[in-house]
Subunit: 350 residues, 2 copies
């Protein structure tokens, strides 16, 4: 819209400006916001089409995967990331744990009137960097503005599509008695980074979110040749909730070994301080894998060889259980049920 | 999760209950909300997979289209529809105007704490009815809850994917001098229905939103054999903004005939009363088509033969213009520039 900008409007004042209702109204102000902010940072051949959607190449052979996530994390900026990078990683991971190669993302912004353009620019730049690093472009988007007090800074909904190579089958329904349960690294880092930031807790060592795109790690795991039955990223509700979901979907029970669960010392201390259990705290760069028992060692080796899986561990086994309970052998030698998260532990964690 | 529900919780009290923070926390309350509300009404084989995304069949030959829309309409319920049906129609239309057959939708909900479950159920039912009528299933979703005062009832972001048959090419960049410009019906119905509801204006005849899925009409238009260059749905910013966007994308000018613009009498009266111009008021069930001049009659006939195109009209012509102006011959015999919407005319209209 260079012709329009030259003729009618001054460039956006990204340093001092704020979002107003006109930026979501569909007219010239919105076109300018799209051009000078979204397209500038996220730009690619698909966004550049400038239509109401993106026209994409034929995806190739295989089944499609579609996943969507609304991101409402508070605060918007936290150690290790922000809502921009998180909204890219979260949806890429949802696509990748289905066994798919993530291809494209869409992004829809709901911005509160009065939000600083500088903060919006910082978020979009972070999103662009995460998208570029992951090799998954944001091909289409939307922007809406709501009145002050009707939103909370910015919410970002991303949707991803991916392609599953023929013959691959991963689902929460595929866990079988005897299977091994692995995690790719330490538990609870993201949730505790958010909590520490939100509550202004001054822990000795800063806790950093683990937000990361896991499709590279998953690719390496699949290349190992291990017979993987289930992949899942334990976000809201943490590992405990994710395993309960899988146990329900597959109609099985699980037994975890508490001594095998990897938890960072700082996270462990912070959880104790706040009365939280790291098993229920959200992760944004970790995955759970369930595989045939005989392949557990091979899969663990592949995970440990990848930068995002260095602290991977085998943490338990699947067994038959008509009640679909997830249980844990504690470090004191007892057993306890690892129940569903029943209420709100950590709201707005992603 | 019947095992869980039986063992631990009472059914949701949809009649009297309200959404609380736990419904977005990823635990048992969220699983229950998904099962007893979202899955109950939107249920299909893909949602039933219960994974973080949907695994979909190979899409077939052709290019993909992806489009996304955040819906923040206020009020949530209005004559002719609600945010549920609107969020299905809006995204289907964005996919369809790219020349694609809409295949699947995702839906992400951001709900404000305290929102009535009865209203949420009404919205999800409306969404389900719209999805069923259009033949485009909601295959995956997400639910987040934000604290009271950090949202506004419910926001819904839908994303759609579709398939473009080989050889088809529709884009805002394809308008050519000499082309005819058509609209599929009356202008401004959606926006004025929202405004009348919002301002509690008691117009004599009620104004009803035109919200509708346009892919059937588009199919009929393509089957007519007319050489269609551009399709677009004139939503936010209305026809004027949409035509300015196309003029910019294609590098052309346009001349409209004011006497040919179809506007309902009630909308026209309401616009006059409120000092609005129907050219800038949003539509949610109308499209603009630009086609080769020689095919205009054939295309108009195909549109008029479809229930959603009965009031279709040829409203102008494309011409060469290095300034990319959209102009209009007025009923008084003069000419005026139909400029971009420059500020906020109608916030939160979709």
């Amino acid at each position: 819209m260079s012709d329009i900008r030259k003729a009618y409007v001054r460039p956006l004042d990204i340093k001092h400006g704020r979002v107003d209702m006109a930026h979501g109204a569909g007219g010239r102000a919105m076109a300018q916001l799209i051009e000078e902010l979204f397209a500038k940072y996220l730009g690619n051949e698909y966004l550049a089409q400038g239509d109401d959607g993106a026209l994409l190449p034929p995806p190739g052979e295989g089944r499609l995967v579609m996943a969507t996530d609304a991101h409402v994390v508070s605060p918007l900026f936290f150690p290790g990331g922000d809502i921009g990078s998180l909204s890219v990683h979260g949806t890429i991971n949802d696509v990748a744990v289905m066994g798919a190669k993530p291809l494209y993302l869409s992004a829809a912004f709901i911005v509160e009137e009065g939000f600083k353009l500088a903060d919006l620019a910082r978020i979009v730049q972070s999103m662009a960097a995460a998208s570029l690093a992951a090799g998954v472009p944001v091909v289409t988007g939307d922007t809406k503005v709501v009145e002050r007090g009707k939103g909370d800074g910015v919410f970002i909904t991303t949707t991803g599509i991916g392609l599953v190579a023929p013959g691959r089958e991963l689902s929460g329904r595929c866990a079988r008695p005897g299977d091994a349960i692995l995690v790719s690294g330490t538990l609870g880092d993201h949730g505790m980074a958010i909590m520490a930031e939100r509550e202004s807790l001054g822990f000795e060592s800063p806790i950093v979110s683990d937000t990361a795109a896991l499709h590279g790690l998953i690719e390496a795991m699949q290349d190992s040749g291990a017979d993987i039955h289930v992949l899942r990223d334990p976000t809201r509700g943490g590992l405990a909730t994710t395993l309960n979901e899988i146990a329900r979907q597959s109609g099985v029970g699980m037994m975890l070994e508490e001594k095998c669960l990897p938890v960072n010392r700082a996270v462990s201390a912070a959880c104790e301080f706040l009365g939280l259990d790291p098993l229920y705290v959200a992760n944004e760069g970790k995955l759970v894998a369930i595989c045939a028992e005989r392949d557990a060692g091979k899969l663990l080796a592949a995970m440990c060889a990848h930068p995002l899986g260095e602290a991977a561990a085998i943490i338990g086994r699947v067994h038959q259980d008509e009640h679909h309970f997830v249980q844990m052998s504690t470090i004191f030698g007892g057993k306890r049920i690892v129940d569903w998260l029943s209420g709100e532990q950590l709201p707005r964690i992603c």
